[in-house]
Point group: C2
Chain length 332, copies 2
Amino acid sequence: MPQNKAWTVASLPTGPLSESNFKLVESASPSPKDGEVLVKNLWLSLDPYMRGRLSQAKSYVKGVGIGEVMTGETAGEVLESKHPGFRTGDKVCAPSGWQLFCCLQGELLTKVDDSRVPLSYYLGCLGMPGRTAYFGMKDICQPKPGETLVVSAASGAVGSVVGQLAKAWGARAVGIAGGKAKCDYVTGELGFDACVDYKLGNLRRDLREACPKGIDCYFENVGGAILDTVLAMMNLKSRVAVCGLISDYNATEPYGVKMFRSILVNRVRVQGLIVFDWLERYPEGNKALQELAAAGKLKTRESVLEGIEQAPRGLVGLLKGENFGKQLVKLA
Amino acid sequence: MPQNKAWTVASLPTGPLSESNFKLVESASPSPKDGEVLVKNLWLSLDPYMRGRLSQAKSYVKGVGIGEVMTGETAGEVLESKHPGFRTGDKVCAPSGWQLFCCLQGELLTKVDDSRVPLSYYLGCLGMPGRTAYFGMKDICQPKPGETLVVSAASGAVGSVVGQLAKAWGARAVGIAGGKAKCDYVTGELGFDACVDYKLGNLRRDLREACPKGIDCYFENVGGAILDTVLAMMNLKSRVAVCGLISDYNATEPYGVKMFRSILVNRVRVQGLIVFDWLERYPEGNKALQELAAAGKLKTRESVLEGIEQAPRGLVGLLKGENFGKQLVKLA
């Protein structure tokens, strides 16, 4: 059997995450027990929520303990199955954590079809980030045709799907992203109507120009000063989905939101969003995303690091916005 | 005809409101034209929203201009009617502004029945503040039996109704108020389960003690540090109605809300509330409040200043929390 490699948590960060918060551990590959499946992971997904697992602060899921394998989703191939639902060679998504091999109860795996789309898409636009975008848009933002939707981190795994859904549903899509390359991609490739580069330092002015009728829906991935700028422009009875606040994740002191009053004045509805609240409706989300992809209306971009050794560096960079598109680690 | 007295706006405050922002003007009483009704105002309502009318900042209604009569609702008696729907002696509520007499189109008046409750109640628990509480509770907070509701400014015109509705609907009602007298009134008279005195300086600890199962519904009238303390204690899928942020109204710089992340982590739904969004459902709200009052379950307390001369002082004090219960000015 090949050797397993796993990233464990060495220490919890106070302030910015560092590569030294993780430790690479080698061990023999595990063997499946009855009901279990041995998976060889081919792709590891890196996502902003992971920063929240490295904290003792109250969050929606318990944090990862020191010495435990770091949390993460993978896409891989079944090497050996002791579960009737899986066969050697099946492609699956799995909550494996940051490691090359894992044994999991078959019930925890999701079989996926990579005959028409790359396997890695099931960690991005057709996976958790895609479903996050779909349910946040469908149930919280609820854009109507002609309305203006703004999404931050617009070139990212979630944001890119959000804007493409807005377009598919007849709304105007305006992105916020950092740097010309990302903004060009958001308008040129993804088909958003506009994209504002917050790094130019004129977010308020540029966003007003991009949203002459104000903002009806905001899909928030970032928080901080961007949130305040957008809140000030929300229209009457507009909707905000709070999906992420990445600008706060590495901060020791949270940002103070000054435009809370806009929620009152404009009767805005603001709602927090964690995709697993929609677990029972995943099939609906998967179907909608797959149909959009089949129609050529769900484009995506991946940022790939080679080798499990790169995972900590990848997450540290993701939290600084250094990725461009869905951040993945190619494991094999 | 008697002489009219009216408070006009002399200047817009920057920072705390002052009595010198108003100017008392005397003039002849107006005479009704066709379709109009001459009302003698008996009670003037003072409400926190009035501070927002004295600002050029964007709000849900245009501000009052310099030299114009200050905005306000009154309850009074018809002196002369040139509208078929009203007769001399009818009791009405009217958007008169801060003055002793006014002529208004009949369509702007609401006839009320003061045979069983005092006329002034139609400016408080049976009027705009009561309806604000009702629709915010019914449509936004949506307390279920056994859930915990918290309301700030709990002894005030809106807060006192909010908590009594929570009790009537089977929820646990916890108030936040300033000072022992107000807290004793909230639990002793209004029947809340608990009331925390924020002026004691231990809000976080005391609120945790009063809400051992966390907070399912929050009805916000105050904002600032109180909002942050409550946000940190919101339960999963809890609801916040943002009705007022009085602690910010006199501030030159808005408070920075640090616990915004709780909205994400706990999937809280936060919604701004202005009662006139429910205009078409006022009859439903009025009926519910009147039934509650008839059942002896809608207690109220009024803070009465005598004479129109006192109105500016009353509003300045209200914004500092100096009132105790619904703030009124007795005009005649």
